[in-house]
Amino acid sequence: MTDTKTPAPAGQGTGAASAGAASVAPTGVRRFSGRWFGDLAIRYAMVIVMLLIIAFFLYRSARFGTPENLTTILIAAAPFALIALGQTLVILTGGIDLSVGSVIAVAAVYGSITAKAFPDNVWLAVVTGMVVGLIAGSINGFVVSVIKVPPFIATLGMLTAASGFAYVAGNGAPITGLPASFSSIANTQILGLTLPVILMIVGILGFAVIMRRTAYGMRVYAVGGNPVAAQIAGVKVGRTLFSVYAISGVLAGLSGVMLASRVTLGAPNLGQGYELDAIAAVVIGGASLLGGRGSIWGTALGLLLIQTLNNGLDILTVPAYWQDVIKGALIVTAVAVDVWSTKRRP
């Protein structure tokens, strides 16, 4: 990391060294078949892309590799991380939750209203945001699992409705004049990291354990992979479906309050469009939109990839519109690689 503070020529050296290492790798595994190496490259394609992107930014910018910038990336990633975790669970069941961005907004507004009313008990604002998220998520879950409306439609409806609620709650205006105690939530530092970043790290670790090590996690995969088989095996498919939307809602609610606290504003347009970045993170992380395939670690990687890209392109002052073009191309490429590698598997 400190290397990057040295002038450009040394940075070029780093680039050359990593390129050298990459060209050495194939010869090192020559005793394995080319196919084996190909499979390995596919499996870790995203890691490789990530490393290449990081190397590029390190080479082009001295500022990119600083600890301050790393913190910036993590803080920017935090609100997306919570909704991307929920989104991972939903996508693993073969569904999708388009409403998380709007749920962030409505939770932010109601959280802010609560904080204004009870400035001495700001934890109430956090609880309010999570409850608002739980209600929205539960409605999604009910509509999907009981009424059996396709998830895309159900959560599209919630996207619109929740966004409307966010404006209704604040009479069309952002909630301003929030107490300092509220803005201090997101700025609370633990071990040098702010609370949203801590929540992101705990969330990723927690959900990684849940998805890999608990019966619940296994059942989520099963419901997405083969709902009929899961049903026959005795898994309560409807209840599992309901739960992933409820969890996604709660996490979006929490994310909304944290975001409002960070910007000290209960704006009804907070979180707008966030669902797309969250879905992108999950898909880049290797999850199949058909369900059953994907992982929390993949999502974490996809999330960091997008955030690193955002950050690096900002530092290089790439115009925002071009950034969107690059991100869009990346998402399609990631899925294309995934489809291609799935076909290649035996």
């Binding site: 608990t214 019966a215 083969n226 088989a229 899961a230 026959i232 095996a233 005795g234």
Partner: protein, 262 residues
Amino acid sequence: MTNTQPSPHTGTTPAGDFILTATDIKKSFGGVHALKGASMTMRRGEITALIGDNGAGKSTMVRSLSGIHKPDSGEITLDGKTVSFDNPNAARNHGIETVQQNLALVEDLTVWQNFFLGREKTHGFGPFRTLDRRVMRSTAEGMLKDLAVNVPPVSSKVRRLSGGQRQAVAIARAAGWGSKIVIMDEPTAALGVQETARVEGVINTLRDSGVAVLLISHNFDQVMRLSDHIWVMRAGTAVAERRTSETNGAELVALITGAKAS
């Protein structure tokens, strides 16, 4: 099991030798009468075949026995006791396991995860229960070995297994829960010649271990090869039963089509 009377296998079998009897089972879906009062029996330690043309009601019968459908009326007795299943788990708790026609395995899960899906072994307390993967892996390995299945590694994803291996896994899963009855719906329909032979070997091993097997098959050769007793269904009822040793393919075809009255 304990009240089994030692009795010779004659034409008239005492009721105690029936592990399962289904009497006058009726089931309709909307206006379609899939089962119009079908009755059948299964004997201990035997492979009972259920045959019939498409739409004869075989699948509905099987699903009624395995708890997927709840019959509109009729009585099912298991070991002499009347039973009623609200869902597949209820049937399973009574010792009736089913191997589905469409291989009810989750391809994205591993072999051992499929074995234990819906009845996972965990350790820890309350919300902090985690999967006991070591125990589940070794149990699944043991269950596969018991049936002399050409064992795929239990940690491999089902997606990577061949059709025969998948079917063997499905059968081993069904057999491995101390079950009294294993129902198999077209167990070899999707398999090649060699894999079919292997799966038939597994089914024989299962019978020899004392499990009653209900076999649904369109393959007459297979029915003649494997089964001890045959029930024929036609138009929603069971129209005839035969000892396999006392019948032949021509008679079965006649019974299925209705060319020969039972």
